[in-house]
């Protein structure tokens, strides 16, 4: 099936919101403040487990400008809420329990930010300290799933196809290794922030929130506050990055809302950087065991992937790190197992790229190790195990052009010249190495609605309650309507980020373009039908409205995954296995004397359905590669387990990639592809795909440079020295 003719989709047009962003005119949460707004600062617990015995607020309350210091007894009791959209069932300040370091134990409200910040450290809590459950000592448990679980166990925990023992025993080469990825944090540049205002005598709640899901905030708050959802209005026209940390409803949102209620004034609560470490989730550490067995020709005979990820004591957050292994390579036996470990830490959450992100480090490292065992080229090994149908469920893929991504990527990179043996390349005092990995991401799909309105001035306004988090929604989604209506995208405007607009799923899981784009296509088609009833001539539509004295004409659209469900991953009941794919090739330089690794160049090729805007999609993939670099070389959030506290809750003690880390030689391309099943517009997701596989490609390149195999991330100086 070939894509239809286009004046919108496929055009690399610049961002509609570009001017607003480069001039500072784009307003983020908490930047429009009503008169009388109080500033809120949270007081964090200094212990990881126990109970609050007492809280002395005297000194804090004495600071000029402080209006209230709220402690547990000051907040109304909440109803239980669904998890998700609420990130966890445990809500701080409902009782005296402390379940993680950094948990809010009081809220300071003041007339100025300075006063609130000065008072917060003066709030003194005394605790009855308990021994915390420590991450490194925690035992693996099977997470609650199905009707007894929560929304986090959205896939099968364990899968088993074929006879593993038989395939393992019969093999010519085997790899049996353990791999570790650390806990690390999203650290979007915009910290979470909530401005809460009760109007109409407390009947209506208005929230300007830094979120990836305005509707999730509405439903989460409605359930906890026992209010009709329609009385809660959530707005977020721009989200300053999220990467998962703003996907769900976290304690600060509910505390800001409650504080505004108690104080009878609007409250602005900016979580701040330290707060982002315990109150907005993180990617949990994952321990993985991977076993691969292959015949002499490289064909896999058995695959087993067992994973265990960290969660909080109150929630069963599940990192499906074996997700990729279920699908990526053909093998007669593929077994996966998913477990979690509970400890006194804040609740983890999805982070770019969840599941496949940590998991692909293990799978693609093990594939590289297997290739060396077989003295085979790593790309040839992958091609030898190319899956034509999903190896776990047998379904055909909705679309897959990974072979083309491998071949074109290898050509662009010059992979054919790669020496098979390690330690063959150098440049001055640096060892140079080449590594590659596959990329794969599940296709998350959400039900979506949208509205399209044609105005008498000839412009089109689209409306959908999704978010702009940097992926280009303001630009990309109008391109879909442009094709349907034959109207250039610059005359089409999108309104988003508001619960007054048609409902969509959250802007996460690389789902918005395909889901909301499909709903917009439906709305635009219905609008076109209405307009064509007036006159079949597109040029006459505006005049036709004017003749009738109409200002505008609207149509609503809807799109749902197969079976009319609200959400699915990997194809749901469609009969197809839905994923995006790719291949990434990197060159690194390693200074073995100083223990340093640097990225020199990268090529990424992707099979990800139809690309609506190659320009914004290109930026997404470059970003993904940088995220993978950070995962491999820089990022982790070590904890002092004696205190259950992250060593650093800031950006000075935690490394994220900077410009100097990233060469301009990052070559990204998309295979020409149209997925007729995943959405109504041929598209799938791109944002998370690019962050998968990269870390393994880098450690594989480090091995090629040095002969040193890295199985624990991030790479440490000590791993490379000597």
């Amino acid at each position: 099936m070939s894509p239809p003719d286009t004046i919108g989709i496929g055009a690399p047009i610049p961002r509609h919101d570009g001017r607003a962003k480069v001039t500072g005119a784009a307003t983020y949460a908490g930047e429009e403040v009503p008169a009388g707004t109080l500033h809120a600062v949270l007081v964090p617990a200094t212990i990881a487990a126990g109970r609050i015995v007492s809280i002395d607020t005297t000194a804090a309350a004495r600071i000029p400008g402080v209006v209230r210091v709220l402690v547990a007894g000051d907040f109304p009791a909440l109803k239980p809420a669904p998890v998700p959209p609420v990130a966890g069932s445990f809500v701080p300040l409902q009782d005296d329990r402390v379940r993680y370091e950094g948990q809010p134990v009081a809220v300071v409200l003041a007339e100025s930010l300075e006063a609130a910040e000065a008072a917060a450290p003066l709030v003194r809590a005394s605790y009855n300290r308990a021994d915390p459950a420590i991450p490194s000592h925690a035992a693996d448990v099977r997470p609650k799933a199905g009707h007894e679980g929560n929304g986090y166990a959205f896939a099968e925990l364990d899968t088993a196809v074929g006879d593993f023992e038989q395939g393992w025993t019969a093999a010519r080469a085997r790899v049996d290794q353990r791999y570790r990825t650390p806990s690390r944090h999203h650290n979007p540049m915009e910290p979470s922030a909530t401005l809460a205002e009760w109007r109409s005598g407390g009947a209506e709640l208005y929230v300007h929130d830094a979120t990836q899901w305005t509707y999730g905030v509405r439903y989460g708050l409605a359930a906890m506050l026992d209010l009709p959802p329609g009385q809660i209005h959530v707005r977020c026209p721009y989200t300053g990055g999220g990467f998962g940390s703003k996907g769900y409803v976290w304690p600060h949102q509910i505390l800001a809302v409650l504080a505004a209620k108690v104080a009878g004034r609007p409250v602005k609560l900016v979580l701040g950087r330290a707060g982002m470490y315990t109150g907005a989730g993180f990617q949990p550490a994952v321990e993985q065991r991977l076993r691969l067995a292959a015949a002499a020709d490289g064909r896999l005979t058995a695959v087993a992937h067992e994973t265990s990820s960290l969660s909080s004591v109150s929630e069963d957050y599940v990192e499906f790190a074996a997700a990729a292994t279920r699908t990526l390579y053909a093998s007669p036996a593929v077994h996966t197992q998913t477990r979690i470990r509970h400890a006194n830490v804040g609740t983890p959450t999805a982070m770019r790229a969840p599941h496949e992100g940590p998991g692909m480090f293990a799978l693609e490292s093990a594939m590289d190790e297997l290739a060396w065992e077989l003295r085979m080229d790593p790309l040839a090994l992958r091609l030898a195990n190319y899956a034509r149908t999903d190896p776990t469920d047998g379904r055909p893929f909705s679309s897959k052009k990974l072979r083309e991504a491998y071949e074109e990527g290898a050509r662009r990179f010059g992979w054919a010249k790669r020496p098979l043996e390690p330690r063959q390349l150098s440049d001055g005092r640096a060892r140079v190495g080449w590594g590659m990995a596959s990329c794969i991401m599940s296709t998350f799909r959400f039900a979506a609605t949208a509205r399209a309105t044609f105005g008498v001035d000839g412009t089109v306004t689209l409306a959908a309650g999704c978010q702009e988090i940097g992926t280009g929604a303001y630009t990309v989604l109008p391109q879909v309507a442009a094709d349907v209506l034959g109207i250039p995208p610059e005359r089409i405007r999108l309104m988003l980020g508001d619960t007054s607009l048609p409902e969509t799923g959250g802007t996460f899981g690389s789902s918005t373009t395909l889901s909301v784009g499909s709903a917009i296509k439906d709305a635009a088609e219905r609008l076109r039908a209405k307009l064509e009833e007036l006159t079949p001539d597109r040029q006459g539509w505006a005049a036709a409205l004017a003749d009738r004295g109409w200002k505008e004409i609207s149509a609503d659209g809807v799109w749902k995954p197969h079976g009319d469900v609200a959400f699915d991953a990997t194809g749901g009941s469609s009969g197809y296995s839905m994923h995006t794919f790719g291949a990434v090739f990197v060159e690194v330089a390693v200074d073995e004397a100083l223990g340093l690794v640097r990225l020199r160049r990268a090529v990424g090729g992707y099979s990800a359905g139809r690309i609506v805007n190659p320009r914004t999609a290109h930026s997404q993939m470059v970003g993904g590669i940088v995220w993978g670099y950070g995962q491999a070389v820089l990022e982790h959030s070590p904890m002092d387990e004696r205190y259950g506290r992250y060593l650093s809750k800031n950006l000075s003690g935690v490394m994220l990639p900077v410009n100097a880390d990233i060469p301009s030689a990052i070559d990204v391309f998309f295979v020409d592809e149209y997925d007729p099943h995943a959405s109504a517009i041929g598209a799938k997701g791109v944002g998370e795909l690019g962050a998968t596989g990269v870390a393994a490609a880098i450690t594989n390149a480090v091995w090629h440079a040095t002969g040193k195999r890295i199985r624990r991330l991030p790479i440490q100086i000590g791993d490379l020295v000597g």
Binding site: D17, V22, G24, E468, G623, N659
Partner: protein, 187 residues
């Protein structure tokens, strides 16, 4: 709350509320502020100039970059009171009054050098200074001298390209706005 300390020549007046004369985006103003108010919180919380962003409040991200007397600094690490007698330029002050974008702003759009936009004001202001300082000479130099601005969306190659492109455009059109020279000479 004023405490006076006599010295041999003059008298220092230590005050909790400090008068500060500062020009922000060509608007002169006199402000009476608590001494502890940072330039960043002055801009965002009191003057409504929210284009300048707060990412870390400790000088570790660069989202709050502004120009003080033409030099880029972190507004979170600068007391408002320390800006007495100085000129502050924020992202809101870069485009011409008629709305024409600064060449750096245009280059950021042209190269898709941002995504979520939250670091963008800091990146753009930093880039304006980077060009004016003469550090927009080649890719490696730009990457190093733009490393004080973290972009978590990771638009780094596009940012580097935008800075080099803007420098070229400004070299061709020396009258372009914002080409401030460094205020300190190295005599």
């Amino acid at each position: 709350m004023t405490q006076i300390i006599p010295t041999s020549t003059t008298t220092l007046r230590f005050e909790r509320l400090v008068d500060t004369r500062v020009t922000i985006n060509d608007r002169a103003m006199t402000l009476r502020l608590e001494a502890r108010v940072s330039l960043l919180d002055l801009l965002r919380e009191r003057l409504g100039l929210t284009g300048t962003k707060k990412g870390c409040n400790e000088g570790a991200c660069g989202a709050c970059t502004v120009l003080v007397d033409g030099e880029r600094v972190n507004a979170c690490l600068t007391l408002a009171a320390s800006c007495d007698g100085q000129h502050v330029t924020t992202v809101e002050g870069l485009a011409s009054p008629g709305g024409a974008l600064h060449p750096v702003q245009q280059a950021f759009i042209d190269h898709d050098a941002f995504q979520c936009g939250y670091c963008t004001a800091g990146q753009v202001v930093s880039a304006v200074a980077c060009v004016a300082e003469g550090h927009a000479t080649d890719e490696a130099t730009v990457r190093e001298w733009m490393s004080g601005n973290i972009c978590r969306c990771a638009a780094y190659p596009q940012i580097t390209a935008a800075v080099l492109d803007a420098a070229n455009r400004m070299a061709r059109e020396p009258s372009a706005p914002g080409a401030t020279k460094r205020s300190v000479d190295h005599a």
